[in-house]
């Protein structure tokens, strides 16, 4: 039977589906202990293949997040050589993370040598050239944290690069790059927008995860 979208609150959702959604989120973000606890509590099916590489992904992700890009690169290449070879954007971002670490550590000589040998070759392409200019400008400031490019030194930036790396690894392993949770929220947002357009003045408010969790 076709359901009226406006009656979604009456729709029954299978417990197994909910368990899978939660599990997907935990696995994506390498919360291994949480996965094991969740499985023990709910009796959900053990996805054996997921757990094999999670340890490796977890270590890589955390190295990237704390700015140890060289280690992250090394472990990624151990996992599979072609992940980074096929993704120059990601490669540049990781190498940039290392450059930033050197700048923050006030290791100018090493930063310079690294820039010339590893980052310089990217400069032939315009899209990397602009980014490279941003990073190199950090050298012009005694306190890069207070420079106009301070955002390149932030946790948010490292998080972004680590996320990209994680997605690339998942794609390589033929696993979903995005969690089911993300897709559901995206779809809920779009559906709510369509309903708003149809309903006119009677439209329900746009979907907001924050508001939803409060209700």
């Amino acid at each position: 039977m076709d359901l009226d979208p406006r009656q979604y609150e009456n729709l029954a959702v299978n417990d197994n589906d909910i368990h899978n959604i939660v599990l997907s989120y935990l696995i994506h973000n390498c919360y291994k202990e949480s996965v094991e606890s969740f499985i023990a509590c709910t009796g959900a099916t053990q996805p054996a293949d997921y757990l094999e590489d999670m340890d490796k992904r977890k270590r890589i992700f955390h190295f990237a997040l704390e700015g140890n890009a060289l280690k992250a690169i090394e472990l990624t290449e151990q996992l599979a050589k072609d992940i980074l070879e096929n993704n120059k954007d990601l490669q540049f971002d990781l190498l940039s993370l290392h450059f930033v670490e050197l700048v923050c550590s006030r290791k100018c000589t090493e930063a310079l040598e690294f820039a010339q040998t590893k980052l310089g070759p990217f400069g032939k392409e315009p899209k990397y050239m602009e980014k490279l200019e941003d990073f190199m400008a950090l050298l012009a400031y005694k306190e890069p944290e207070k420079s106009p490019m301070f955002h390149l030194l932030s946790l948010e930036y490292r998080q972004q690069v680590a996320d990209s790396l994680n997605r690339a690894i998942l794609a390589h392993l033929n696993l979903p790059s995005y969690t089911a949770m993300e897709r559901l929220i995206q779809q809920a947002t779009v559906v709510r927008q369509c309903l708003s357009q149809e309903a006119g003045k009677d439209a329900p408010p746009p979907f907001s995860l924050k508001d939803f969790l409060r209700s």
Binding site: Q116, G123, D134, A137, Y141, P148
Partner: protein, 429 residues
């Protein structure tokens, strides 16, 4: 009876004197039309008064800073002496050293203090001020001295002034000095100001930015007010030279000290230049390769010249160019490029035609007719008259001819003979 002719609006008093002065060098213009022409001409003499005045102001500021610095040092010295519990001998020694410092001002040429009377007197610094104030006065007098009686001489002097200005801007300093000296123009031209520029330009051409940076420091407030980025560009070039020499650590130190402060307003340029550290001097990447080329120093010289002229209130173009363009624009008409263009017209010569090529045609509200016989302009005071054969000559010329020939007119072009009474007045549209 004959109607009075309406004025045709052909008032030569409104014509810029620059055109006639440079093109025709009219030795004796009519008295009544001189002053309006002179007024128009003086609009181009802004630089003549402005440059020595700016120079004067600059000297005043420099002297003022030096005096203030010395006086504050002496005053704080006296304050220390008053506060401290000095023995009479120590006090005498301290005061003696302060007096020596004030006498140091004398060597710098500003003030001297008599030990007993503390009388101020101006010396070298004030002498410079005096000379520059005098130069301003000389120029005002020169402009006021222009009148009908000496207009020819005055225009001749102006021509030489313009040539000296041109030579100075083209860096022909020695020639400019010789011309100024032989014509006794020293107070009417700006050789000393351009000598100041010469030092900076010579250094830049030798890849040395120090004199230019010193000049920027001297004129810091003025340059800041005009949002000049001359200093920033000099700093960028010096940074590039360090990268070229692969002196990378010094380049980074230099960037932190001298380039970072400009980041707020010139971030894109700053980033582009800093990025050369990653590419080195032999990069093939065209965006950065250009930064290492020798012509960057030529750009700096050009930029400095512009800033220098702007600061002193000079025109950015040489006066010679401005006068030539104004004159040629006024004279340029389609007729100039035809074969029967009269030889008196400068544009009948190839050289002037070339110079005038990019200039617009002059706007002619009314036709201008020149008498074939006298070469004078035909206007309301000297209207054209038509012979029975259709040829046109000026009234003055025809009256003169009639007097000599018992009232008969002989056409100089066809030989036709007719009576003065047969002439018909023509009107210029």
């Amino acid at each position: 009876m004959e109607m009075d002719s309406l004025p045709n609006g052909n008032n030569t008093a409104g014509t810029p004197i620059s055109a006639t002065a440079t093109a025709t060098a009219n030795p004796a213009p009519p008295q009544s039309s001189n002053l309006p022409q002179l007024t128009e001409s003086l609009k181009l003499e802004h630089q003549f008064l402005r440059v020595p005045f700016e120079h004067y102001k600059k000297t005043l500021r420099a002297n003022h800073r030096a005096v203030e610095k010395e006086m504050s040092a002496v005053i704080s010295g006296v304050t220390e002496a008053a506060a401290a519990d000095l023995s009479p001998d120590d006090a005498v020694n301290h005061l003696n050293s302060l007096v020596c410092r004030l006498q140091g001002l004398k060597r710098k040429g500003f003030y001297s203090f008599d030990f007993l009377f503390a009388v101020l007197s101006l010396e070298e610094g004030s002498r410079a001020e005096h000379l520059q104030a005098q130069k301003c006065r000389v120029r005002l007098d020169h402009l006021e001295s222009a009148d009908a009686e000496n207009m020819s001489e005055w225009n001749n002097t102006r021509m030489k002034r313009i040539l000296v200005d041109y030579m100075l801007r083209m860096s022909y300093y020695d020639t400019a000095v010789k011309l100024a000296k032989s014509s006794n123009l020293q107070d009417l031209v700006d050789i000393d100001v351009f000598q100041e520029a010469k030092k900076v330009i010579d250094a830049l051409q030798n890849k040395d930015v120090a004199p230019a940076l010193a000049w920027c420091a001297d004129n810091k407030s003025r340059l800041k007010k005009s949002k000049s980025k001359m200093e920033f560009q000099l700093r960028l070039q010096e940074f590039i030279e360090l990268v070229r020499a692969e002196n990378n650590l010094r380049a980074i130190t230099y960037a932190r000290k001298y380039l970072a402060p400009w980041g707020a307003t010139h971030m894109k340029e700053l980033q582009r230049v800093i990025a050369t550290l990653a590419f080195k001097r032999d990069t093939e990447c065209s965006t950065y390769k250009v930064l290492f080329e020798a012509k960057q120093w030529d750009y700096l010289v050009d930029q400095f010249k512009q800033e220098f002229c702007k600061l002193y209130g000079m025109t950015l173009e040489p006066l010679l160019n401005i006068y030539l363009q104004a004159g040629l624009s006024a004279l340029k008409t389609p007729y100039c490029y035809e074969d029967d263009c009269t030889k008196e017209d400068p544009l009948s010569q190839e050289a002037f035609r070339t110079l005038a090529m990019p200039l617009p045609y002059s706007k002619q509200h009314h036709s201008k007719l020149v008498c074939y016989i006298t070469k004078e302009l035909m206007d309301t005071e000297n209207p054209p008259q038509v012979l029975p054969n259709g040829y046109v000559y000026s009234t003055k010329a025809l009256e003169e001819m009639a007097k000599k020939n018992n009232g008969r007119i002989i056409c100089p072009r066809t030989g036709l003979v007719c009576s003065y009474t047969e002439l018909v007045k023509a009107y210029i549209s």
